[in-house]
């Protein structure tokens, strides 16, 4: 589904390479995790895939089901089925959460040539999905993420994911700022979406999220490269011994 090949990325404003040849193949129905120390380029990878300004791809490719992601606008990537759950979900004062969700769902449907959801149908679906994530009606009415707690913001990300039904989901440190209960709630939300047609890339510092969202493949990223790939046991190794051993071995 997602294929990244020898991807080199630097900051647009300065000559500082961040990704130095990332390669990744994620098949439909699988969950991949990327772990790695701070500054290894994990978040940059997620931003570059989602199309955020400020980065320049100097080499390499990234495709989603064979389509070149890197030439698409961010909204086109979203319509093609890519979703990034933000590490720091953005507050948008003045835009109601419900308006935001409906605008996004209908914009994507329109881009794919599907009919827009009626207000009634939309409301029904959103209420049902919000309930599963313990998001109350009040939260849906408030402006997007404004005044939300850390946990509420992350649950709101998962609600968006559930509503948009993307095929490639990237979760950027979704566990940061979550207590144990919230982590369970968020993980249940993610697991409910797992199916044969959908793939996940879970970016995290810690093994604990992977106790809830079981990965098929774990990658270790350091200094802008994937330095080691393995099964779920790799995450446990990191948890027990830290990154030092793996990084030394990779060099």
């Amino acid at each position: 589904m997602l294929e990244i090949s020898n991807l080199h990325v630097k900051l647009e404003a300065e000559d500082k390479p961040i990704l130095k040849g990332v390669g990744l193949r994620i098949a439909a129905g699988t969950v991949h995790a990327i772990m790695g120390p701070n500054g290894s380029g994990k978040s940059t990878l997620s931003y570059v895939l989602a199309g955020r300004d400020g980065y320049a791809v100097t080499h390499g490719t990234a495709t989603l089901d064979g389509e070149d992601l890197l030439t698409m606008e961010p909204e086109e990537r979203a319509a093609a089925g890519l979703f990034l759950a933000f590490q720091y979900p953005v507050e948008i004062p003045g835009v109601g959460n419900m308006t935001f969700l409906r605008t996004a769902v209908n914009a994507q449907r329109k881009a794919r040539g599907e009919a827009e959801l009626s207000a009634g149908d939309f409301l029904k679906v959103v209420r049902e999905k919000a309930r599963a994530l313990k998001i109350d009606a009040e939260m849906l009415k408030r402006p997007v993420n404004v005044g939300f707690s850390g946990g509420e913001k992350k649950r709101n990300e998962i609600l968006q994911m559930a509503m948009l039904e993307p095929k490639m989901c990237i979760l950027d440190e979704t566990d940061s700022g979550l207590d144990v209960d919230a982590m369970k709630l968020v993980s249940d939300g993610v697991n409910a979406l797992r199916d044969a047609g959908r793939a996940f890339l879970v970016i995290t510092h810690y093994q604990r999220l992977l106790d809830h969202i079981h990965p098929d493949v774990v990658h270790i990223m350091a200094d802008g490269r994937i330095v080691k790939t393995g099964g779920p046991e790799l995450a446990l190794e990191v948890e027990q011994n830290g990154y030092a051993g793996i990084l030394a071995e990779a060099q």
Binding site: E75, A78, F86, P93, T103, A107
Partner: protein, 428 residues
């Protein structure tokens, strides 16, 4: 200090062609206004109060020509609202286009007719609120209006008005130079909503005096714009009795030059005055909100919320002052003016002022100028919202705090829709 000769010469040239109607109570009020005006002359850009807005086009003997404009791509503002229509064409009342001027809860008349009578409630309002508003800051264009207004509407609300009164200003002549003066009296416990829309004239000079008795409630929603070449100088003078309410919202979309002055006198205790403005300008657009709020009563609340969205060299000005008089304890004054600059060519000039002579008050003001939030824009786009629609959503969100000041949901929805249309036409 003697008035500079140039100001008097400008005044003489400006009023040379205007008719001065004598006789009756109105004639007396006009004569007093003319005397006030003679002691001031006309403003120039060198006056402190006109530092950010050049009044030359507003004071020139001839109105600068302005192409007439009628929108064909959307229904006029307030079209779907049940209201009493009062239509002026280039400043002349048009009975054929207007509804019958009768409405439960109010008395409504034309200035030109009422001015002939001996006794009229408007004698206690016409020119008096304007005169009060001449200190501490001179407003010569308002005095000129009182002296030379050719028409206007007088509304006295004695109960709850059955529906809003809608003043519609059509513009059919490229050189029309219109001076209208409205007076509104809200009796104790009465309530009225006044709507205003339409381009009015090539140059429009307007005064609205609003006298609100104890417990009266007045709502004002106006939409200026879409006529790109119009020049307008408008004034609202309001005097609030105890426990009364005054709420005014203005949408300005386009217009070459607009100066909206609002002068509020919170005289009684526990009065509430909210003034809000949303302005969107693209290109040759100069928009000036000048507000002066005087707190004299106890425990009064005032709120000023002004937001401007500017692009392609558009200029926005905000001059807002809160004056808290000695003894006006427990005053709650809030003022915010913000601009969203959609490019580097546009400009926002703000001069917020507080002057406080009471010691137990709560007053705050803030002014900001910024660009579209790029992070929020990316967030929306990453969820699949196309760039233009995402920008539009953020601009509307920026303006939302002003629209929230409109109490009637249908009117607020109509204003929001017209803003949305404007954003669409102007490529966001």
């Amino acid at each position: 200090m003697p008035v500079p000769q140039a100001k008097l010469d400008a005044l003489a040239a400006r009023i040379a062609g205007l008719d001065f109607a004598r006789g009756g109570w109105l004639g007396a009020a006009r004569a007093e206004a003319l005397a006030r005006l003679g002691a001031m002359g006309l403003p120039t850009k060198r006056d402190e109060y006109w530092r950010y807005t050049d009044p030359a086009d507003l004071t020139a003997p001839q109105a600068p020509r302005a192409a007439t404009f009628a929108a064909e791509d959307e229904p006029p503002v307030f079209d779907g609202i049940d209201r009493l229509r009062v239509v002026f064409v280039d400043g002349v009342f048009d009975p054929a286009l207007s509804d019958d001027l009768t409405l439960a809860g109010i008395e409504i008349e034309l200035l030109s007719k009422a001015g002939q009578t001996d006794i009229h409630w408007a004698r206690e309002v016409y020119g008096l609120l304007e005169a009060r508003g001449q200190t501490p800051v001179q407003r010569p264009l308002a005095a000129l209006n009182t002296a030379f207004a050719t028409e206007g509407i007088l509304i006295r609300a004695t109960g709850g008005a059955a529906k809003p009164v809608s003043l519609i200003y059509l513009h059919k002549s490229e050189n029309s130079d219109v001076i209208l003066h409205h007076c509104i009296r809200i009796e104790s416990g009465a309530e009225l909503t006044v709507l205003e829309n339409g381009p009015a004239a090539a140059r429009f000079t307007k005064v609205m005096e609003v006298d609100i008795a104890s417990g009266g409630r007045f709502h004002h929603i106006r939409a200026q714009g879409r006529d790109h070449e119009r020049r307008a100088a408008t004034h609202v003078f309001a005097r609030l009795g105890a426990e009364s309410l005054f709420k005014s919202f203005t949408l300005t979309a386009n217009g070459a030059l607009t100066r909206n002055e609002v002068v509020i006198d919170l005289l009684g205790d526990d009065g509430v005055a909210h003034i809000a403005g949303a302005a969107v300008g693209d290109g040759a657009f100069h928009h000036d909100d000048t507000v002066f709020i005087t707190h004299a009563g106890l425990r009064c609340e005032s709120r000023q919320v002004f937001k401007k969205v500017l692009k392609n060299g558009a200029v926005g000005v905000f001059q807002g002052k809160i004056l808290v008089k000695p003894g006006a304890q427990k005053t709650d004054g809030y003022q915010i003016s913000q601009s969203l600059l959609l490019d580097g060519d546009s400009q926002f000039l703000a001069k917020p002022e507080l002057e406080i002579y009471a010691d137990d008050v709560k007053c705050s003001h803030g002014s900001t100028s910024g660009a579209i939030d790029e992070v929020a824009l990316f967030y929306l786009r990453a969820r699949g919202v196309p760039e233009a629609a995402a920008k539009s959503l953020l601009v509307l969100a920026f303006l939302a705090e002003t629209i929230a000041e409109i109490e009637d949901a249908a009117i607020a929805g109509d204003i929001r829709l017209h803003l949305q249309n404007w954003l669409e036409r102007h490529g966001r």
